[in-house]
Amino acid sequence: MIEELISMLEREFKERVKVYKDRGRYFVVVEPSDLKRVVKLAVERGFNHLITISGVDAGDHFEVVYHLKHGGEVLNLKVKVDKGNPRVPSVTEVIPGAVLYEYEVFDLFGVVPEGNEPPGPLVLPEGWPREVHPLHKEFKEES
């Protein structure tokens, strides 16, 4: 099932997708501009449950990972985002349940979901500075 989807994605997007397997799970790195189409294709092939969206501060860039599942198989779509202008297209048109996850990634990493812009400064206690995102590696907690 997941192999079919992945070989289809490889055919369709050629060198714009990069596939690797880690600990028994598939990770597919896609371009931000292709994200919506890839998600749509995955949803059409049964991967219609978005588990969550994770952000990772990978040093010189952010990674935004979309975990989609179908039965016991999990497809991890990874998008690399530039730290200077962190934006990803919103997937809420395809998966309405993604709303809160996109807000969450904005709160913790400052990655803006285009098309589902958070209506206000979000996460965290009231009065939290808008440009500070606690899951950035350079953010240090006072002890």
Partner: protein, 140 residues
């Protein structure tokens, strides 16, 4: 011991407030009021409004978001009032100490009369705490 404190010691009404805890303490606090432990036999009652409460039972490490609400609830309670910090998080911040969004204990925000440590404390510990509170109210 006056009549007032005698009566008060026999009818301590408690408002339970979760200040961002993990629920572990909350379910143990509620369990103390269910058939096996039955705290109500000491005249203790869970009440829904701060205006009716004698004691505030706070669980959780006090998140920065809830801090102002906790202070407001405390201010709404009539005198004399007692604050019980229930659980390690409420006492000191517990495992969440040093996190960017918690204050690290109830006593950083409002004065605390009674600390009940444990992660979470057993319902018996709450009963013990209530007995201690009754002794204090009587002026012992």
């Amino acid at each position: 011991m006056g009549v007032l404190s005698w009566a008060r010691a026999k009818s301590i009404w408690v408002l339970h407030f979760n200040s961002g805890g993990c629920n572990g303490c909350d379910i143990e606090a509620v369990a103390a009021f269910t058939p096996r432990f039955d705290a109500e036999r000491f005249g203790v009652l869970l009440v829904p409004s701060p205006r009716h409460a004698d004691a505030l039972l706070v669980t959780g490490p006090v998140t920065k978001q809830i801090k102002d609400r906790l202070i407001r609830i405390y201010e709404q309670m009539p005198e004399p009032k007692f604050v019980i910090a229930f659980g390690t998080c409420a006492c000191t911040g517990g495992v969440f100490k040093g996190s960017y969004s918690t204050c690290g204990g109830v006593d950083k925000v409002i004065p605390v009369d009674l600390y009940i440590p444990g992660c979470p404390p057993k319902p018996e510990a709450l009963l013990n705490g209530i007995a201690e509170l009754m002794r204090r109210v009587r002026g012992g």
